[in-house]
């Protein structure tokens, strides 16, 4: 069994608006000892994702919030160090929502094996993990892309948006990305193959988006909300589809935006354009995981899908990286290297 302590990051205080370093605290506890039927995991790659901001609040999110003083929630790729569990052996690579910590004990619930043959194991929290499956299932089940249609997706260099756009291209769509800054936009067009990409910081986003979508918008994959949504709204075609998987523009908001109340504009567009708007979380399509892994790993092998990771070294840098991600500072899937990757 490993020696030393279990370094952890806990929720110290609930944020008001944007989180600050003071909302987190580092603690060291003894490395836990697995009991009968349990295993000990060692975290290698911790995923940082926007949904975690919601878990830092009180109140009813769609999943339970993190309690004050609890280890921050998070999915991670880990190595089995010891196992009293019949299905897992020492040295195996697993994924679990094991949190912002170096070690954890699991009875196997919510644990799954990571197949290193599918790709680098870090991708199990990225393009072959929850963000990738969110992109895949939301686009195919709700977006239903058809050849010749126009799709718009924001956070286009991020782990969800980048895959949404690339799958839509594979399905024959015209794909317009929106991202923060020229470097990300260049990547989205030149590396990922989107038809075009707009900087969301531009003041004239509505006009530029209209120009980029001469045939209107058939699918808007909603992962940001705010000004991007407002620019999209007038451009919807009849029978457009809008999967809603996140509204990161609002996650740090402490109050509603100023008036007027634009809800009737949205409702009117839904009615007159007969739009389908549907919210989802990735677990709603859990039974499609094998299809997802087969398709996306195949597209990666065939170079039809590319992905980009943004690594941060060391668990203690996770809070700052997380805070920056909510401001769009990451470039690609944000992953914290917590421990040594034995497969690398």
């Amino acid at each position: 069994m490993p020696s030393g302590t279990n370094h952890q990051i806990r929720l110290a205080a609930r944020p008001t608006g944007a989180p600050t370093p003071a909302n987190f605290e580092a603690t060291d506890t003894p490395i836990p000892i697995p009991g009968p039927g349990e295993l000990l995991g060692r975290t290698i790659y911790l995923s940082l994702d926007p949904y975690m901001r919601g878990r830092m609040n009180t109140g009813n999110s769609y999943t339970s919030h993190v309690k004050l003083g609890e280890v921050m929630v998070g999915g991670a790729v880990s190595e089995v160090m010891e196992s009293n569990h019949p299905d897992y052996s020492t040295g195996e690579i697993v994924f679990a929502y094991s949190g912002w910590q170096q070690y954890f004990v699991s009875n196997g619930e919510g644990l799954s094996k990571v197949d290193p043959r599918l790709g680098p194991i870090s991708t199990a929290v990225g393009v072959l993990g929850m963000p990738g499956m969110t992109a895949y299932t939301g686009l195919l089940n709700i977006g239903k892309p058809q050849p010749g249609e126009t799709l718009v997706v924001a956070a286009a260099s991020g782990p969800v948006g980048s895959l949404v756009g690339q799958i839509a291209k594979i399905k024959g769509c015209r794909v317009v990305g929106i991202a923060g800054g020229q470097a990300k936009c260049n990547h989205v067009v030149n590396e990922l193959g989107f038809d075009t990409c707009l900087d969301h910081r531009a003041r004239d986003l509505p006009e530029r988006l209209a120009a980029a979508c001469p045939d209107g918008i058939d699918i808007y994959y909603e992962n940001v909300g705010g000004s991007v949504f407002e620019a999209v709204l007038p451009l919807f075609n009849e029978f457009a589809r809008m999967p809603v998987i996140g509204t990161v523009a609002h996650y740090n908001a402490t109050e509603l935006p100023p008036g007027p109340n634009k809800t009737p504009l949205f409702m009117r567009a839904i009615l007159t354009k007969r739009i389908t708007v549907r919210g989802m979380i990735v677990w709603d399509f859990a039974d499609q995981e094998q299809d997802f892994l087969r398709d996306v790993s195949g597209w990666i092998r065939d170079s039809r899908v590319k992905y980009r990771e943004d690594f941060v070294d060391g668990l203690d840098n996770a809070p700052e990286a997380f805070i920056g991600m909510l401001e769009g500072k990451n470039f690609g899937k944000l992953v914290v290297r917590v421990g040594t990757d034995p497969t690398a």
Copy 2:
């Protein structure tokens, strides 16, 4: 051929906010003469419906607007007076969007026969016409009612809401209506069999709706918008469905409601509750018309569906009746008796 003139109501001026009598003008023209392949129709029952308010505006509705000086748009049940059309004979009863006038000529396009055996021919603009089919197709295709679920519908004594609720009862739902005033609510509960009905004029509608929906809301059939929608929003269950067929609360609005902008609340509910919101117009489901006529006429025969009509006598009273309908003054399907019903 009939003698006399063709009395008509035309759009005289576009309304700003609520329409007034000055927006309409009555004219008399010669009774038109059907040419080869055409027929002459005599209007018996003219339907008044909320969608007509949108047609009085300029700008892009989902259907074309009425031009200034044109006869007001409207569906009507009529009698064929003369026919040079191979498919129609003198004396047959037909439905067409023939407008607010006593006589019209048609080449058969958009015309359909009304089967008097299905019910009183006035129902071809009500429970067995467009409002009924809107209720039926929107509820079954988008609402997808399941036994034990809770449905909420506003304008519950109106032609759409009343049928939505009754079909939902047939499908095993708990049904909560919302209507304007105690008389309508009594009708909705005592005659139509809804489980309960709330007066939308009550100040504490959100609290009363929450109390009336102890298990939350699975289906909200959206035909009004405004304060009813806002009362519904916090009560949605996971995987709720929301067909959007109208937002009559906003039809007379000249500007957006004051702030804050509550769109993020709606989006957050869509996301966290994984709600499906889908707009529709009745023609989207035109291929289901025979199913609709068979089912609903059968339910009427079996006394499982009841309907109420609110008749107004004389075409000249149509403008005032229409203005009142937008304020909720009608009680049941609003129909103008334009001419004698030969089947009555």
